[in-house]
């Protein structure tokens, strides 16, 4: 096969992939046109210079460890976009609805051997995966969001719950759950119609959002049921949040055909504690408390502690 050097060099420069060759001291031995274009650094300027001089972000234990492995064992190192997002901080090529700060990249590294088979260099191949990541994010958002209200859906809620529980288990951080349910929702739908019911659902979430922090997970659990996972939060603080929620929703005015109607919610609150050690138990606790709130008049907040006192 006629693969002499001039063709190889052309291939390297035409490829829509970044190619960087480093020696044992991490000095750049070669860098292709894709790299020149996206970095703005011509080959002449970077040859023989340690890559960390231009890209200090690479000088981290993980990158160093894997390069060492490559030089020692001749294995490969795969850098996924998932964990790294980018390897070289380059600008995205085209705009995307997600406005990534940097081009999303994945890469692979492999050894290059000399005449006698010893490993002389390592080669890093970089791929621009921004477009793919955009699609992925879009799909994820669609899969996680409730269409009507725009907040998270039940699927995502259960995912987050597992994650928060894991954090709690690992670091012993407090975790609370608030569940609320719109009072007499069926009645509202029957008297005002389903479109109005939808309007109420949306308005309730709008009223609730300011009561929650960005680290909290707010999701629509069922038809008129909502959940808030509150990490790093004890029951007392969770009760305060719950009360604030209840109040915000109760005091908001909802317009229907020139009349103002009120909507209220019943709220149940629980936290992980001695008796509550699984996601299911946490839900059940809050659910039982919610049920109690409904039974004892609605438009109120009940916690698992209240339940214990009653039983």
């Amino acid at each position: 096969m006629d693969m002499n050097e001039q063709y190889v060099v052309q291939v390297c420069n035409m490829l829509n992939t970044g190619i960087v060759i480093l020696d044992k001291d991490f000095k750049v031995h070669y860098w292709n046109r894709w790299m020149e274009i996206h970095s703005g650094i011509p080959l002449g300027k970077i040859t023989g210079i340690p890559i960390f001089d231009f890209f200090p972000n690479l000088n981290n234990p993980k990158f160093l460890r894997n390069c060492k492995s490559l030089f020692t064992f001749g294995n490969y190192y795969f850098l996924s976009q998932k964990l790294h997002t980018y390897i070289f901080p380059f600008h995205p090529v085209s705009a995307s609805e997600f406005n990534f700060e940097f081009m999303q990249q994945s890469g692979s590294m492999f050894p290059l051997r000399g005449e006698s088979g010893e490993i002389k260099y390592i080669c890093l191949a970089i791929h621009d995966v921004t477009e793919m990541v955009s699609y992925e994010q879009k799909l994820l958002e669609m899969a996680r969001r409730d269409i009507l209200t725009g907040i998270y859906n039940r699927r995502f809620l259960e995912e987050r719950m597992k994650e928060e529980f894991e954090k709690h288990r690992r670091y012993n951080r407090p975790l609370s759950l608030v569940i609320f349910d719109i009072d007499h929702f069926k009645h509202i739908n029957d008297t005002c119609g389903h479109q109005y019911g939808d309007y109420i659902l949306k308005s309730v979430t709008t009223a609730a959002k300011p009561c929650l922090r960005t680290v909290d997970t707010f999701a629509r659990y069922g038809g008129e049921e909502f959940c808030c996972i509150l990490p790093e939060t004890h029951l007392t603080a969770a009760l305060t949040v719950a009360e604030r929620l209840r109040n915000a929703i109760a005091t908001q005015e909802y317009f229907f055909n020139d009349t103002i109607i009120r909507a209220t919610v019943s709220v149940g609150v629980s936290e992980v504690c001695e008796n509550i050690t699984t996601p299911d138990a946490l839900f059940k606790g809050a659910d039982d408390a919610l049920y109690e709130a409904k039974k004892t008049g609605r438009n109120k907040v009940v916690s698992i502690n209240n339940l214990n006192r009653l039983s």
Partner: protein, 217 residues
Amino acid sequence: MTSSNDGVLNELEKDALKEIINIAFGKAAASLADVIGLYVILNVPKIEILLPEEVQRFISAEIHESKGLNIIEQYFIGKIKGAAFLVLSYESSKQLISLLPGEENKEMFEFFSIAMLEQETVTEIGNIIIGACVSKIADFLKDFVTYTPPRFIGGKFSHNDLPQKIFDRESYVIVLKTIFQFENRDISGFLFLVNSFESINWLKQAIKEYLKQYGYE
């Protein structure tokens, strides 16, 4: 292929292979200490000669663990060709993250789920351990191998099909099993290397040369 296992390797060859692997793994462990900064012990390898369809049962039986497992699967192609499976319990995997030196862990937790970080860590270490062991064996054959990206599998070992282009259903494979332990004895796992029939011939060649040194022809 109907000949018995012993037709593939005789007792002496098996012993020689075990010793070759033992030496290869000893070197791998020493290099690993250097690369990942952790003390690793790679134990005596167990060698089995099986048909591809028997591999899953063998590995599952060796693992004994019915609870959660993290498995890294990687294929390698050189004179020796085959698959590597690195198996760690959930518990060992969790402890592994905290053991890795110099990790920028704290901030990572803000952006990534714990599950993903564990997955990444196990995959990275798995990739390196597999690379260490396979490359040292390849060294004996004066060969170097190419690798596929490591694949992370969570759950249990239920590998039904080994890829057709590497494993011929009719031919035997050599399975090597090693237990590895990290500094902290609670972190341990298994490494299984499944080598295809073609590899067996190359290995036999290397064994022959090794035995020559000791007067066995």
